[in-house]
């Protein structure tokens, strides 16, 4: 209404001329003449009078007055004044819930005007409106956090018009995201949407988001995706977009149909998907890089420092807590990765899509090359960005992610870290379950160098091997699982994580069996670590069996062995590897015997694990057949030969000679595993994860960055 009237009065305002002249015209018309000329040139020193004016207006609003009455140009001028975020915030903070409700009409008026002006042609007005809205919104939501009965929507736009204005707000923001050329304004709009999405600590209670779950969802989704598509905005704003998408997707996703879930699941714009994965990759790679450089410092001390490291855990220190905070910040990114992997079928390709331009630190050679390239080709500046540093290793999302996992899962004691690690393992589970992802991970031509980080332990040295072999990603994933199994055999046993990590190995092996893929992997590494795990379970049976179901875990482990025993011919990489499998089992036959004994023990007495124990005892039939078949044979051979310490080759030879007299039982459903499903098992987990993401965003993001508005003012004041 207002804007229409004033539009007629100012023919200029309908054109894209947010210039000095424009400001001048409106200033002359304004009823306050106290604005100096220098103000128009963006002179910092003369900011005071304008600030004063804005503050005056705020104050009169909060007194319950309406300064716009009788001045048809009021809003046009108001939106050309730079908002004073702090003043507005403090004014709002002064009020309690009741007072706010009383002032509802005035606040509604401002907000509706803000929403209306978002379609204005003047970039300055849009920026001001976005900033003002965001400030009010944040102030009210902060109030609402303490005063639970506060109705945010009512205070913002009023109950009656909320159906009209909130969707309109989403739409206008979306259209700014997809068509406004100014990246600062896009930035402001994104922050506003983020403020809307994080309005409530509890996502499902965020009534504002309800309004986005209807037809606006499509527009909004596309606008967000568009940001990811554009290579320039992707870098600057991609992280906000990813966070937003995660929040929208998680909004009441168990209660009803969420259009964002559907949209994300069918997203098939390659550029957008690449943008999505690139934002995640950059983020994770940055962290990995930081960690590597930090660790390089700590390890530089050599033997002594590694000794101190192993005595005192490195995560208890200050450094550790700082790292915790850092890892918490990753939750949004990890959740985004999870949602993409879990929902989108097209995203899988991007897991192994090699990304050349990750944000590795610039090196002199790279910059030199850039200069040379730009000098030679006279191409657009965006071109320069493409020139990559030949020294930096290109990487893929999955390779980076596995490296990241190896860092994060080193310590799982604090809850935040536990959750983080669990989310990582869940993502890996989803990936290892996916047919297509598996085919990519097992492709012998798609090799990567994945740097796995190992925590230092008493009984082993950290192999600091600079010349990593490039290998298929399935190998890296198995390496990671082996590393996890080996390094977490602790008193506070992370059972859930173990189940997940061994599940990952199981899924990979099942895929290989099903598709007859012969991955050239050092399988003995896996076998050894699994047997060591069984031994750990056995030795801590007393404490562990009281608290958790160790039989389930042991059964999972034995099943992996059974897969190798019965179907090894379909996927083992060489004939001798089958012999090596037998060798490992025979070598550690005592572990299997003890395990069997324990299983029998528990299955004979009544208890909650009776059934599991029985299953475990049954699953051991083949392993026991093998050990009982070969162990006597080897012993007799040893006595025949008069040897006490036989070499591995000699044992292998005996094994080879005695296969034929051994019969194995075929077991059912070895290659079946329980498919991962998010609901209902993990519902509460994801619920808490989303909570942490929201509180994290609220803590760490400045929703009203004054420098953005400042920049818009500068840009458009100088474009005369």
């Amino acid at each position: 209404m207002f804007s229409k009237v004033s539009e007629k009065a100012h023919p200029f305002s309908s054109q894209a001329l947010p210039t000095v002249i424009h400001i001048k015209a409106t200033c002359i018309l304004s009823y306050v003449v106290g604005m100096s000329n220098s103000r128009k040139w963006g002179n910092v020193s003369s900011k005071k009078p304008s600030k004063g004016k804005v503050v005056q207006i705020y104050e009169s609003f909060f007194k319950g007055e309406d300064p716009s009455v009788g001045n048809e140009h009021f809003w046009h001028e108001f939106f050309l004044l730079k908002p004073s975020v702090s003043k507005l915030e403090s004014e709002l903070a002064k009020l309690n819930g009741e007072q706010l409700t009383q002032l509802k009409d005035n606040l509604n008026l401002i907000c509706v005007q803000c929403i209306d002006i978002l379609e204005d042609s003047s970039q300055i007005r849009i920026a001001v409106a976005l900033q003002t809205l965001c400030t009010i919104l944040k102030a009210i939501t902060r109030k609402a956090a303490s005063e639970s009965n506060l109705d945010i929507v009512n205070i913002l736009v009023g109950h009656d018009s909320s159906k009209k204005y909130i969707p309109l707000l989403f739409e206008r923001c979306s259209s700014i995201l997809s068509s406004n050329p100014n990246s600062e304004i896009k930035n402001l709009a994104l922050r506003l949407i983020l403020a809307l999405a994080t309005g409530s600590e509890n996502l499902s209670q965020n009534t504002i988001l309800e309004y986005s779950m209807n037809y606006t969802s499509q527009v909004l989704f596309e606008a967000l995706v568009y940001i990811l598509q554009d290579p320039d905005t992707r870098l600057a704003l991609g992280q906000f977009v990813i966070q937003l998408l995660t929040l929208f997707v998680n909004f009441s996703k168990y209660e009803g149909t969420n259009p964002f879930v559907v949209q994300l699941s069918i997203l098939d714009i390659e550029l957008a998907l690449i943008g999505y994965s690139q934002v995640i990759t950059n983020h994770l790679a940055d962290f990995c890089w930081q960690y590597t450089t930090q660790n390089a410092d700590t390890h530089a001390g050599g033997w002594f420092s590694s000794l101190t490291n192993m005595v005192g855990s490195m995560f208890v220190s200050d450094e550790g807590s700082c790292r915790n905070q850092q890892l918490k910040n990753h939750n949004a990114i990890l959740l985004a990765l999870y949602e993409a992997v879990h929902l989108n079928r097209n995203f899988i390709t991007n897991l192994v899509q090699t990304q050349a331009d990750t944000s590795s630190p610039p090196s002199p050679t790279a910059t030199l090359e850039n200069i040379r390239a730009s000098a030679e080709s006279n191409q657009a500046p965006s071109q320069i960005h493409l020139m990559v540093n030949p020294a930096s290793q290109p990487t893929s999302l999955l390779a980076t992610f596995i490296e990241y996992c190896s860092i994060v899962t080193q310590d799982t004691k604090p809850d935040t870290l536990f959750n983080n690690g669990k989310l990582c393992l869940l993502i890996l589970t989803c990936i290892s379950e996916d047919q297509y992802a598996n085919s990519l991970m097992h492709d012998p031509n798609l090799v990567y160098k994945v740097q796995l980080h190992r925590s230092p332990m008493r009984h082993r040295k950290i192999p600091s091997d600079p010349s990593l072999p490039a290998q298929p990603l399935a190998c890296a994933m198995l390496d990671f699982v082996v590393e996890f199994i080996t390094s977490h055999k602790m008193k506070r046993f992370p059972m859930e994580l173990y189940l997940l990590s061994i599940g990952i190995a199981q899924r990979l092996v099942c895929y290989q069996k099903r598709c007859r893929v012969r991955l050239s992997y050092q399988w003995p590494e896996l076998w050894k670590s699994l047997i060591a795990l069984l031994r750990f379970l056995l030795s801590h049976e007393g404490t562990l069996a009281k608290k958790m179901n160790i039989f389930q875990l042991a059964l999972q482990v034995v099943n992996i062995f059974n897969l190798f025993i019965t179907y090894g011919d379909t996927f083992l990489p060489s004939p001798t590897s089958y012999d090596e499998l037998y060798y490992e089992m025979i070598r550690m036959h005592q572990v299997f015997n003890n395990l069997h004994a324990m299983a029998l023990r528990y299955s004979s007495i009544e208890g909650e694990f009776k059934e599991w124990a029985q299953k475990l005892a049954n699953s051991l039939v083949n392993v026991r057949a093998i050990t009982s078949h070969f162990v006597p044979k080897i012993n007799t051979w040893l006595t025949d030969q008069g040897l006490s310490t036989p070499s591995e080759d000699q044992i292998l030879e005996v094994v080879r000679c005695n296969y034929d007299s051994l019969m194995l039982k075929l077991q059912d459903n070895l290659d079946h595993y329980e498919r991962y499903s998010e609901s209902p098992q993990h519902e509460s987990f994801f619920y808490t994860m989303v909570q942490t993401v929201i509180s994290d965003i609220n803590q760490n993001i400045d929703f009203t960055p004054e420098e953005s508005v400042q920049k818009v003012f500068q840009d458009f004041a100088s474009v005369s």
Partner: protein, 908 residues
């Protein structure tokens, strides 16, 4: 102004059917470039119109006066109706010129063959009018004249084609014209030259005078008249034949300024016609003009032509015409006169807007690999209604918007070369390079499919690039450079420029279930926003609050199910594991551990299922060793584009940092020899492979498929060549072995001749391949004529012939070996017969070029000539062959060189 107009008339004076067909699309696109080989060239000189006559004279023997008169009549009428047309003026001028020309030659014609003149004159006149008229009618754009146009031009073609057949009878008149011309050009030499040249020109008009001779004469003659004539004659040769000599033509263009102006019209016309040709010329200019830069500071002809082509001014004329037509239409403010415009005008307006938009888009994205449209020139012609209608009707759409024609391909090639330059700087060995290569290819793939092509294959298979196979790209073995091989999925198309580019497809491995059900089509593209959004919202708000249903979501199970199905289809062996999967009750099933172990071992005895071992030192061996057809099948199966009918897989080696110009010369020689032997029906067999030089130090190489180097055979199989033959083709007297042996001998003899004639050096086993039929193939012609590696002069023998080769042939006493020597002799004799063709290739390239193989200067060519042993009789030559074979076989230096290679480069 007048000359240029007149020039345009000339160009379109001979229509050709496909073009006429495309003319029907709309009046405005009538004035397409003329794609006719026989179009008369024009030169920006005073005598250009005279040459026109020489061609126009030809029709006079065939008397089709009625037709000519009819067409002339109608078109003149059409002309009269549009007198305001500015082209009218040029017509007048032209008509004025004709008598001028006729006056000059008449005295001489009288003295030689006066009888034919009147007839010639009149029919020529008519012909001219016909062509001019028909062309103009097209430009006028009125419907009635548009109808006469195709008719007229078809008529001209008809007469033209009929006439070109009995060419033997034709030459005389043209000879006259030609003499006239030369006389006009060099009045001083007029009297003396005429009788002498008569013979020469008679010869030139004969059917014997084809591209090879033309190039040869163009180079050797110093007579400007003859040069001019041959330059014109180029238009009449089949394009392919001339294309073979393109390096020579360009070389002459660069280094012989007086020829440059003569060749220019031909190059210009071809460039206008084809973007692909334009780029070929650009790349050749780049490759060869680098030498010229050293001598002169001001821009050479070559550089000038290069900038001219790259500026994209040489493009189908329709574009310029359209601009003239289009502007008056778009200029008036749309809201006022909208109702007055007819429908066709309106559509033209749409195109205009679209192209403006396109230009905007392309300027920001071209070359930006992240944008996903780096090779998209922004041409929107295929998205317009016109393009769609054409597509449905199966007609071709020609680009009429102002989008750059060449820029997309230029960018594509640049990006590929950038990889080549980047790779050697990547530290961390071959594997790191391979990873980097994949990363770069992924980047490029983002921007495909696009209207880009691989220059190495585009002449044989016109295509658009769909996707570059990431997993199969490999860095090849090379000491310090990093050449790499790419396997490229392409779509074969009718015409690179006029066929639509296929849409992007994401990987089809995951079958889609939900997408069809969802409102994907209604989604607005992000670029057109607010209005669209409004309508969208309106339509959508009718629906329920949650328009989607989760049932449509894709689940993991979908994949799983389809995969199970696929697996079941593929199962070939009925193993226990399969049974266990299906049987519900296997409580009592037992299996022997020994069986499992045996199956595992047997899986490895079958080489097909063998897991390929990766060799970190040589990652490319893995990729290369797979048979081509297997690879094609594998890539096709996994590609979303695989089900397109015209899907093809092409491969290319990209090399940066190596001078490929010698390779290109060698490839030309090989092809020439191969053709010679084929014509002579000799059994000798070469495998020339294509080379495209992109600059003086980079280029594309066609990989030789299904072949392994002798080095690899020795390294991987640890057996002698004969043993390898037996292992691969069968026992000594089996049919396969004998055939392979025959192939081996034929190819070995052929390459012996080549190695001798060209003095090919650096013949270590890494440079000699063996294909799957037993053919021997030499690659790497980096050292030919007068250079050898580091000029050590190791390899002194005439060619490489080791005892191993002879063993495969069956020993020195065998019939096969005698046959081998006979083949060499035959090959030499045939080559000697066509020596001139070979020599001219080398000689032209030598002029002005500083290739290392010409380091001995003119002596190089002389030495080459000597090796043909013109003076020897057949018997003497036979003895020479015997001697050479003997020398080569016993050669110490061959062994020495092999050992040297083994020590320095590890090549067995």
């Amino acid at each position: 102004m007048t000359t240029s107009c007149w020039l345009m008339f000339q160009m379109s004076s001979e229509g050709n059917p496909p073009i006429v067909a495309s003319c029907e699309q709309g009046p405005a696109s009538d004035a397409l470039p003329n794609v006719h080989g026989r179009t008369c060239p024009t030169r920006r000189g005073p005598n250009s119109h005279q040459r026109n006559l020489s061609l126009d004279f030809r029709p006079m023997k065939i008397s089709l006066p009625p037709v000519a008169q009819v067409t002339a009549g109608t078109t003149v009428a059409a002309l009269a109706a549009t007198t305001q047309h500015h082209r009218h003026r040029s017509l007048d001028l032209d008509l004025h010129r004709i008598p001028e020309v006729d006056v000059t030659p008449s005295p001489e014609q009288q003295c030689s063959k006066a009888k034919l003149l009147p007839m010639a004159k009149s029919s020529k006149l008519k012909e001219d009018i016909t062509s001019l008229g028909s062309d103009d009618s097209g430009i006028c754009g009125s419907d009635s004249s548009a109808e006469t146009r195709p008719k007229g031009s078809e008529e001209t073609i008809a007469t033209e084609e009929v006439k070109s057949e009995p060419e033997e009878e034709q030459p005389k008149e043209v000879v006259i014209k030609q003499t006239v011309e030369t006389a006009a050009a060099e009045p001083a030499a007029k009297e003396n030259c005429v009788p002498k040249k008569d013979n020469l020109l008679r010869f030139m008009e004969s059917s014997m005078f084809q591209a090879p001779l033309a190039i040869s004469y163009l180079f050797t003659t110093k007579e400007i008249g003859v040069q001019t004539y041959i330059a014109n004659k180029l238009f009449t040769f089949p394009e392919q034949e001339v294309d073979f000599y393109l390096p020579q033509l360009i070389s002459m263009y660069i280094h012989i300024p007086e020829l440059a102006t003569l060749i220019f019209p031909y190059l210009k016309q071809r460039c206008i016609k084809s973007a692909e040709f334009s780029l070929q010329v650009v790349w050749l200019l780049k490759s060869y003009s680098s030498d010229a830069h050293l001598t002169s500071k001001k821009k050479s002809d070559g550089t000038k032509l290069k900038t001219l082509i790259l500026s994209d001014k040489l493009r189908p004329r329709s574009f310029h015409d359209r601009e003239v037509v289009k502007h008056p239409l778009t200029a008036p403010s749309p809201n006022k006169k909208a109702h007055q415009r007819s429908q066709s005008d309106a559509s033209a307006l749409i195109v205009g807007q679209a192209s403006a938009e396109a230009a905007e888009n392309s300027s920001t994205c071209l070359g930006d690999l992240r944008s996903g449209r780096a090779f998209n020139t922004g041409c929107t012609c295929f998205n317009t209604h016109r393009g769609m209608v054409n597509n449905l009707k199966g007609r071709q759409t020609s680009c009429i918007c102002s989008a750059p024609r060449l820029e997309g391909e230029v960018q594509f090639v640049d990006k590929l070369l950038a990889i080549g330059h980047l790779l050697p700087e990547v530290s961390g060995g071959k594997e790191a390079q391979a990873i980097r290569l994949r990363a770069e290819i992924d980047q490029i793939n983002l921007n495909l499919p696009a209207r880009v092509w691989l220059p190495i294959h585009s002449s044989s298979i016109p295509h658009h690039v769909l996707h570059i196979s990431t997993a199969f790209s490999a860095v090849l073995n090379s000491k310090d450079k990093a050449p790499f091989i790419l396997y490229v999925e392409v779509l074969e198309v009718d015409n690179i420029e006029t066929s639509p580019v296929p849409q992007k497809m994401l990987n089809a491995l995951r079958s889609t279930k939900s997408e069809e059900n969802l409102l994907t089509n209604e989604r607005p593209s992000p670029s057109n926003t607010s209005q669209n959004l409004a309508t969208m919202l309106h339509s959508n708000s009718m629906g329920m609050l949650y328009p989607y249903d989760n049932d449509d979501c894709w689940t993991q199970e979908d994949d799983e199910i389809s995969q199970q199905y696929v697996n079941k289809m593929k199962t070939d062996r009925d193993t226990i594991s399969q049974i266990s999967l299906e049987s519900s009750d296997s409580r009592d099933m037992m299996v022997a551990a020994g069986d499992i172990r045996r199956r595992l071992s047997s899986a490895f005895s079958d080489p097909r299922t063998l897991a390929r071992r990766r060799d970190p030192e040589d990652p490319s061996a893995n990729v290369l060793s797979e048979p081509w057809m297997d690879k094609v099948q594998r890539i096709r199966d996994s590609s979303p584009y695989g089900r397109l009918a015209n899907w093809r897989l092409l491969s290319v080696i990209i090399k940066c940092g190596d001078d490929l110009r010698q390779e290109m010369l060698a490839a030309q020689m090989l092809e020439m020899l191969q053709n010679t032997w084929k014509d002579e029906k000799l059994a000798l067999r070469l495998r020339p492979y294509k080379i495209v030089c992109l600059s003086a130090d980079s280029g594309f190489i066609e990989p030789v498929l299904n072949s392994v180097s002798l080095h690899q055979i020795k390294k991987q199989h640890q057996m002698s060549l004969l043993e390898y033959f037996h292992a691969n083709f069968g026992p000594p007297n089996s049919e396969e072995f004998l055939e392979a042996q025959q192939n081996f001998v034929a190819s070995c003899a052929a390459y012996c001749v080549v190695c001798y004639l060209l003095q090919v050096k650096d013949r270590h086993n890494g440079n000699i391949l063996l294909d799957d039929k037993g053919h021997l193939i030499h690659i790497d012609f980096g050292f030919i004529l007068s250079t050898s590696p580091r000029n050590l002069g190791f390899e002194t023998s005439p060619f490489k012939l080791t005892q191993e080769f002879v063993d495969v042939m069956g020993g020195e006493e065998s019939d096969m070996f005698r046959y081998f020597k006979l083949l060499i002799l035959q090959g030499l004799l045939a080559a000697r017969k066509h020596m001139d063709n070979l020599l001219i290739l080398v000689e032209i390239m030598r002029s002005g070029s500083q290739l290392p193989c010409f380091k001995s200067g003119a002596a190089t060519v002389q030495a080459l000539k000597n090796r043909f042993h013109l003076t020897l009789t057949e018997e003497k030559l036979e003895r020479l062959v015997d001697k050479m074979v003997c020398n080569s076989l016993d050669s110490l230096s061959t062994n020495l060189y092999d050992r040297y290679q083994y020590i320095t480069n590890g090549i067995l």
